[in-house]
Symmetry: C2
Subunit: 650 residues, 2 copies
């Protein structure tokens, strides 16, 4: 029908694959994209295989063999540094979660030990985080009061931690780690900024020495609660808080300007706690409106496995709390692990990390800990302090254990307001204006996702912010598939290359034919749109030609290079377009369909319908075939009728 240049091969249809094999391949791509067992599979000896499996499950076996005294020195230094940060932060965040302050210390003892055995990051420092703490308080607090029913509340927190750990382990084992990816970078920026704002607002309670406070976290309720109690504000507490906040922010500023002085900001919280306690102790400030921590129990983590409540009517509440906080904790921990791994040029397997996080939370929930992960601030300090391996986590755990065994009485006089200052100083770092501005500059939609997460958290609840940002992010994916771009291609002068005429203004269209490029898969969600849009391109082109009295349109070349896949609705759409074009006396020509497309098009007989000769390997080839036909003869369809019915006639 049309002569093709001899050196162009035909478009190939790949050989059909048995259904089960292709299903297996697909599942492999979804679940084992990074092929984690490649090394193990390639090994022939069974004993070696077992060793590799063990080393895969317990990375400590991998790095412990090369461990030496130099490493130990670095790890001890960084471990003690992060312990000095972990103790005051732990107490503060436990307060934020409405849990007994001692839990913050417990949570810096068992989980880091577990992580040191199973985790694959060398830089991650394990501990509790502010956002998950606040979220625990907000979610559990809605149904169970931490003041009226502290025991049930505590047990529910353990149960939620257990569920979080279980879910994390399962996600990892089932290799479903990719589910965490629905939290896009933009969503996390907005969410974190919102959560930081909310956490800071919560600290106004401690800063102003208030004893009653709202349970809501949104800015309106919090501000109303604060200003309705303005007669209860304690100026002593406020001034003390501001002083410490100033001190902490100054040390942060110094460390930021001179990264070598990182230890100044790392030590600042402990220094604040010591000075605050001394201040209260010597001035008896607890009698002048300064609230203090009070007595902390001595001794390391008591077991709590018997406290998990699976029969209570609140078990679904614990489950829900566990899942949401667990996902958040995972997202933060894995992102942190990945970032530092990138600096040091090693790789982290997300699914393996999930199992490590999961196990550390499961064991944590058995030993009076609540939800832990790898917080950014603590890990950054660990990294800057020069940690070499996860031994720094062990050193921190030992330091915390020593504190638990001997030093808890020292915290009796620690003022709550110091803890509030520590939290605020830590939180302000999470509000990342610059990143948000960067999003605005780069990608308006991402900025919108970020903004809605922020506003959702600040004016609604943390969950609303999460749902909004995830929902909008997913909507964007659907919108991409639902409205793929479709553009006209033109020939770039002096070449055989065809490109988007909007991007390359020097590209020229050819007379008698129009080349349309579809920039996405053809699915049910976009097939109507594509049909309409193709029709509109042709209408517009014909109108233009009618005005300019040029050659009439005869060929429509569809460049399918970027059409990754097609479903049955898409195939019907192509058939429909082909029929409509046929009636309008236009010929459909296909260029460069991919493997998946060719399989389906040939199975559906579409290729036979339009003719194998009208499917070309490149746009250039399709154009030359059409040109050849235009110059030698009319296409093999009935002669053109003058009044072609219009495509979109109403």
């Amino acid at each position: 029908m049309c002569k093709r240049a001899l050196h162009y091969p035909q478009v190939e249809t790949p050989p059909p694959q048995p259904f089960l094999k292709s299903l297996k391949n697909t599942l492999n791509e979804i679940l084992f994209a990074d092929d984690p067992f490649r090394k193990i599979r390639n090994e022939s000896k069974t004993s070696k295989k077992i060793e590799l499996v063990l080393r895969h499950v317990f990375p400590i076996l991998e790095w412990a063999r090369g461990y030496n005294l130099d490493y130990l020195k670095s790890d001890v230094i960084s471990g003690i540094t992060i312990a000095s940060l972990a103790i005051p932060q732990g107490i503060s965040y436990a307060q934020l979660a409405n849990l007994p302050p001692i839990l913050g210390l417990y949570s810096s003892f068992v989980p880091p030990m577990v992580y040191a055995i199973m985790g694959s990051s060398k830089d991650l420092a394990v501990g509790t985080v502010a956002v998950a703490s606040l979220l625990t308080a907000a979610m559990l607090g809605k149904e169970v009061s931490a003041v009226e029913n502290p025991k049930l509340y505590l047990h529910l927190a353990f149960t939620a931690t257990f569920f979080a750990g279980l879910m994390q382990t399962c996600l990892g084992l089932l290799r479903l780690g990719f589910l965490v990816e629905i939290l896009s970078h933009a969503a996390i920026i907005g969410f974190m900024a919102g959560a930081a704002t909310v956490v800071c607002l919560q600290q106004l309670k401690g800063l102003l020495g208030l004893s009653h406070f709202t349970h809501s976290t949104d800015v309106v309720s919090v501000l109303r609660s604060i200003f309705s109690q303005s007669h209860m504000w304690r100026w002593e507490s406020g001034i003390l808080g501001c002083c410490f906040l100033f001190f902490l922010l100054t040390t942060k500023y110094i460390s930021k300007k001179r990264p070598k002085l990182f230890w100044i900001s790392a030590m600042a919280p402990l220094v604040s706690v010591i000075f605050g306690s001394l201040f209260v102790y010597f001035l008896h400030a607890q009698f002048h409106g300064i609230q203090i921590i009070g007595e902390l129990k001595k001794g390391i983590n008591p077991p709590s496995i018997t406290h998990l409540v699976f029969t209570s009517p609140y078990v679904t509440l614990a489950l829900k709390t566990g899942i949401i906080t667990g996902v958040l904790a995972l997202a933060e921990g894995i992102a942190v692990g990945r970032s530092f791994a990138m600096y040091k040029n090693y790789n982290i397997d997300g699914n393996k990390e999930m199992i490590a996080f999961g196990m550390m939370n499961i064991f944590g929930s058995f030993s009076s800990c609540y939800l832990t992960t790898g917080p950014f601030s603590r890990s950054a300090v660990n990294y800057n302090a020069g940690c070499k391996t996860a031994v720094s986590n062990v050193v921190m755990a030992v330091a915390v254990a020593v504190t638990l065994l001997f030093l808890t009485p020292l915290f009796f006089y620690t003022p709550l307001v110091v803890l509030s200052s520590i939290i605020i100083a830590a939180m302000l770092g999470l509000v990342d204006y610059e990143a948000a501005m960067h999003l605005w500059k780069l990608d308006k939609f991402d900025f919108f996702v970020c903004l809605s997460a922020f506003l959702g958290v600040v004016f609604g609840t943390i969950e609303i912010g999460l749902i909004l940002s995830v929902g909008i992010s997913v909507l964007r994916l659907l919108l991409f598939v639902g409205r793929p771009e479709i553009y006209v291609m033109g020939k770039i002068q002096n070449t055989e290359i065809f490109r988007n005429i909007d991007q390359y203004p020097q590209a020229t269209t050819l007379s008698g034919l129009i080349i349309l490029h579809i920039d996405g898969p053809i699915y049910f969600a976009n097939s109507s749109y594509l049909r309409d849009r193709i029709g509109r391109w042709i209408d517009e082109e014909e109108e233009k030609l009618r005005k300019s009295e040029e050659n009439s349109l005869q060929y429509i070349i569809l460049d399918l290079s970027a059409v990754g896949n097609i479903d049955t609705s898409g195939i019907s759409m192509l058939e429909e377009v082909n029929k409509i074009l046929g009636r309008r006396d236009l010929k459909l020509v296909i260029a460069n369909p991919g493997a998946e497309l060719m399989k389906k098009l040939s199975k559906s007989k579409f290729i036979e319908t339009i003719g194998k000769d009208w499917i070309h390997l490149t746009v250039a080839e399709a154009v030359s075939a059409c040109d050849h036909m235009l110059q030698t003869a009319k296409p093999d369809s009935p002669e053109k009728i003058s009044g072609v019915p219009e495509f979109n006639n109403v």
Copy 2:
């Protein structure tokens, strides 16, 4: 740095657009893809513009001018034919919805008139449909019993119809018609087959003359209900039903074999009703276990606008029912309108049709009608009977009105079992085995969607089936974006063309470089995957090279032709990949990024990072630049270290 052939232009970055303009363009593409106002916009005179708007809103103004006697003759014939189908079907479906049978006739009077004025299809015949009727019964029946509280039930049905109409109108006005597209073709096939099965099972009640029956629609409950009452079965009713069913199916078979005899199956329901009624009348069969319709009120539609209940506690129930049945009705009506429009080569504007459907349901709910749409069976009869315009709907409405005014007493003796046979005969046509087989052959995933819709409806409820099929369809879209294909390209011999080496086995890879093609957009949902997958390709390639002792890998060419869009997570991923490659002493080269990509990459300074010279218009050009570098000099990076750290080291 590298010399490019002179005739290749650079990759262009399109000029930046003001934010609001690009937002407007995007919204236009989403909402006005078919550019419905083009004609109006191009018109300069205001009077002409108003005329065009009116003709746009009321298509009757468009076609009424060309109407002639020949058309009228055809329309009268087809109108009477569909009326003869509409009357028995209307009564049957109203029974299915647990509504008074007369409502079925009312619903074939007002809505067709409205549609004739506003609808743009020439072939659509308006009426009630079985699936929506059953769904109404199932949803409303869950909370309000049609037997114990018939008045409230009736009013809720009107209210649901009103809400359905309102939603349809709003979708059309807001040009959100594309939302209906989430029901893929595959989902509809499975859903319809499931619904038909369920409807047929429901008819066993009438066929066996049972008076008590379960309210559930799933197959297990229905069968249990039937077999637990086996002592109540009426054999008279059963035999009569089977006879009529046999008659109806035979006529269907004849019409299917000889499309010219379409009127045989079109008339069969009315003939069955007449014979059934005569049978009962002469043999007094109503005293022998044959249930009859009984008295039908004379007179056309009474107004029902005052019966709409917006204050009742059940208003949310009505709203929910209205939205779900309304979406289903829309999906069916628009698909039917589109199919017939395609046969006759005219085009239907989905959004305009939605407004027409919506208005006909709103007016319907004001005049004692329940939900109507364009059922496939009736429209097919209309088409086959040779209808020319929507006047056939008017003729049908008039015929139904005459029936309502004078002929209702004739239906007194009509046996219910005949109605059941009519429904079963109509429903069997909806189970489309062949289409399902076709799906299996073409696209396993679509078959899975279809199957889950079917099983969800049959073993769960109609809603479960809907949610399952929509959920799985959407999951597929997300999976496409989440796991885009990424493959290695090779050079097709004797050409400058690079293609997938799996599709074109004759394509050969080149030494020293690997060309990866990413077949989808780069978004947060896939950026980790792509990073891992690129790493794995490189690892595998290096391993292969190490074994064969060939040239070591030096260049990674990423072909971005098919990457339609990128978000900030995607850009970070590319930056990360570039860094990792840099550390492994590999150079990243980009080929053919599209307009959107170039915009974002240049804004993010990524282009500066990798160097503008490393971005090429085609893969061929990128390869020749790399080849040039490989032959003349080492790339401008530090000399290769022997023990390159592995990408995926654990």
